[in-house]
């Protein structure tokens, strides 16, 4: 029986694949569609959700203390409060991957992770792959292989490949395809992303030197 490529590239130690993760979140966001149709929420409910609490987030190696509403996503906090706008907003419902970051080394959607949930975990964003002004190997590979067009989904694609390579340093092309299948690219630079992933594996093997 052929090996399921997903086994090697997308399964975390806790046994949650990105695909499972996606299907589990599909329902929750439906309510957001009925914009304008919903009755006004009673005032006390609005007050209740604006309660705040303090979380300690370890982001790109440094600890950040921040006051959040419980409903705020990691994506929101990264962009709005920490200025880490490399992580993009694409759909805010776990379907496009533009907000992909690493949580404990695993590629995750920051839009589907609450800031309060992220506490106690190691979070890496696209900015965290840099060494000062120097690009990391996956970033370098994406630049060399022209693995983007408009570039908006690119940080997410890079984080997906980074997460994949951390678990599987030598993925097959099918493992790469599955590894980035949760990251949409409407410009459809997929062919060059496949090449970049292979190149990135090569660069990482050489210790990140181009």
């Amino acid at each position: 029986m052929p090996e399921d490529p997903e086994d090697k590239c997308c399964r975390s130690d806790h046994g949650i694949s990105r695909r499972d993760f996606m299907s589990s979140v599909g329902v929750g966001a439906v309510a957001a569609v009925s914009i304008g149709n919903a009755p006004a929420a009673p005032a006390q409910e609005i007050e209740a959700v604006s309660n705040v609490l303090t979380v300690n987030l370890r982001i790109n190696g440094s600890l950040r203390k921040i006051t959040v509403e419980p409903r705020w996503t990691l994506l929101y906090v990264l962009r709005e409060f920490l200025g880490l706008t490399g992580t993009k907003i694409g759909c805010e419902r776990g379907e496009c991957g533009a907000c992909t970051v690493l949580i404990d080394g695993m590629a995750r959607y920051a839009c589907m992770t609450l800031a309060v949930e992220a506490q106690g975990h190691e979070i890496t964003t696209i900015e965290g792959l840099m060494d000062g002004e120097k690009l990391g190997p996956v970033q370098q590979a994406f630049a060399e292989e022209d693995a983007f067009q408009c570039g908006f989904c690119t940080p997410g694609q890079i984080m997906a490949v980074e997460g994949l390579l951390r678990q599987n340093p030598n993925p097959t092309i099918d493992q790469v395809r599955i590894g980035i299948s949760g990251n949409l690219c409407r410009c459809a630079a997929y062919q060059h992303i496949f090449k970049a992933a292979a190149k990135a594996a090569e660069l990482r093997a050489k210790g990140g030197q181009a």
Binding site: G26, A32, S34, I35, G36, N37, A40, A43, I46, E47, S50, Y76, E80, L84, T85, G86, T87, K88, I89, G90, C91, E92, R93, E95, C96, A98, T125, I126, E127, M130, L135, Q139, Q140, F142, A143, E144, D146, F148, Q149, C150, G151, F152, T154, P155, I173, V176, R177, I178, I180, L184, C185, R186, C187, A188, A189, Y190, Q191, H192, I193, F194
Partner: protein, 769 residues
Amino acid sequence: MSDYYEELEELLRSASVPQSSQPQEKIAPWGETRIVGKPLPRVDAYEKVSGAGQYTYDIHLPGMLYAAILRCPHAHAMVKGVDTSAAETMPGVVAVLTGKSPGADIPWYGSRTPSKLFDPHCRYEGDEIAAVAARTSYQARDAVKAIKVQYEQLPFVIDQESALKPGAPKIHESGNSAGEPRVTSRRGDVAKGFAEADVALEETFYTNFQIHVPMEAHGSVVSWDGDKVTIWDSTQGVYDAVLMPFAQTMGVPMNKVRVICRYFGGGFGSKLELGKYTVIAALLARRTGRPVKLMLSREETLLAAGNRPDARMTLKAGVKKDGTLTALQLTSIGAAGAYSAGTGVGWQVGELYKCLNVLVTESTFYINAGRARAFRAPGFPAGNWCLEQMMDMLAERIGMDPVEFRLKNLTEVSQSRNVPYTSTGLKQCLIEGSKAFGWKEARAARKSDSHIKRGFGLAAGMWQAGSGGPPYTAEVRMFMDGGVTIKTGALDLGTGTKTVACMVAAEELGIPLENIRIENADTAVTPYAQTSGGSMTLPGLTPAVRRGAWLLKRQLFGWASEALGVPAEDLEINNNSIVSRSSPDKKRTMQELMRAHQVNEVIGIGNRDPNPANRAINPFGAHFAEVEVNTKTGEVKVVRLLGANESGRVINRKTFDNQVHGGMTMGLGYALTEKRVLDRQTGKMCNLNFHDYKVPTALDVPVDHQVIAIDPKDTECNIVGCKGLGEPAHVPAASAIANAIYDAIGVRPTHGPIDPKMILELLSKKKRG
């Protein structure tokens, strides 16, 4: 609002692009090139892979507020009252805007389908009713939900049958039809043509609505300083699409409006016009005295930011046994949505193949759904869908190979305009493409006996624009150390505009690419460029850049020639000096030359030359597809694609390939998965997310996707020799996949998208006979 689509259509229908520039001194075509044509990484690659590139969505200003829009939840309704009192007192809310707010009574959608910024008559699910500005985006969305609206729901129409039947609920006072059917192409006499035909076939085809869904949502950040306003906008054109219509709409002088879009997250035609969101953000910003950011949600981009209209096309075609086309007759109709938009599809029918007798009749109607906008080669993938499937049907009937049949009917004259093309590489696309694809061998091979059927298909295509033309201005500035900065108002949509502009300047100046920097799309800083659309930016902008670089070089070489006593033709740029080729010891640094003339920089202002008179300039392509169809499940797997495209000179082979991959993949989505689903009970859209609106993922594209670049060595089209690529790279792909599916299963998939259900229906129809 001006309707970009219709203006573009009108512009393109006319025989020539309006020419405004004066003729300039002739520049000879390049011989061998050093930089142009090479596969090079982009000049903005670092910003894009590091996360440093700031898109509109990333703009963050001190004190900035966040806005959200309340949209009509019904397909058709009259707003009887809007109560914003609860919303206004909610935490964080700073301002609420409705149609009754001062300055918000703004007409919209032009004279044909008049409406307003906030129109109480809501004509589709998504029409704007009110907006809120609050301290956080969460608070803005909460407040929008707290606005109480009284609706009178009206009966709605969402398809041709219900919209055009007598007594149908009227969307506009003028009714649901946009007018009598229009003859958009007429040549010869089709009745005579059909009489001469040995075979005449007629078939009705349908293509569904496709939605742009760029990864960056539509939106703006607006900040006023007194009577001056700065707008960061996710737009395809800072000048035509935002600055000019905004100035007109808001009654602000153009020089008081600054529009910026340095990094842009995709548009595909949906960001060619001024958005209501921009004006709403501007009104809220003026009212609150604070910058306002208004980005649409993903749901809103699917609902209310444009789409490719559907098309129902009946095509009748006549052919002689020897493969000569005798007549083509197309009748098409498409739904513009709730407001005026173009739905024409027929241009290729009258242009792509030699045919003496052509008649194309087109019409448009309105439904209670989101309005169409220009979408990557408006009308062309749909028109191609019917024409290229019909070409295969004819070829089969007369027993000719589809490649041979197309080759037999090629033309080097633009029949619609009755002038020759400056170049057409379609023949080479078909020949080289089929050779590389292994067309003959593949088609001759026996088909599988299992339930997985393999098929091979092709389609040819072209794009109506792709010539570019004036006006475009590029500023090429050299510092005294020899470093160069280009300034252009043009957007880089992701096609690589900035990179090719730098390559063209480097080529002309004879300096390394690394010595050139480009700044773009800021109306306060960069000179005029047209909106990026129509595959016109590359051939519109790069000749202006070459002209600017040439003028800069001429100035410097003139000074150096005088100082050194050598002819200008003997000079070249070497690092920060100008050196004599014949005696390299004769040289001057840029600094010496500039100091001698009391300047610290030299600037070349390049204007786009006019296009040649009495010539048509069009890009072409032929696409090939191999598919596997699972006849038990109806699933289609595209296992191989090949694109052979001719867009004049290739400037950068990396971005060229990328564009063909991307264009064809968007065609794959159009062929197989992308459609708008409206609920018949409520008229509401059902697939308002990426789960249900399916764009191709990494698992849907084949790994084997070859690109062939045909260079016709066109020295006539412009001084760079290039034509546009973004759209012709998309046009024939879906049709090629449809033809491959027919080859696999022997039933023609006339209606798109061809989903598994449709395949199974086709197969069962075939079984029943």
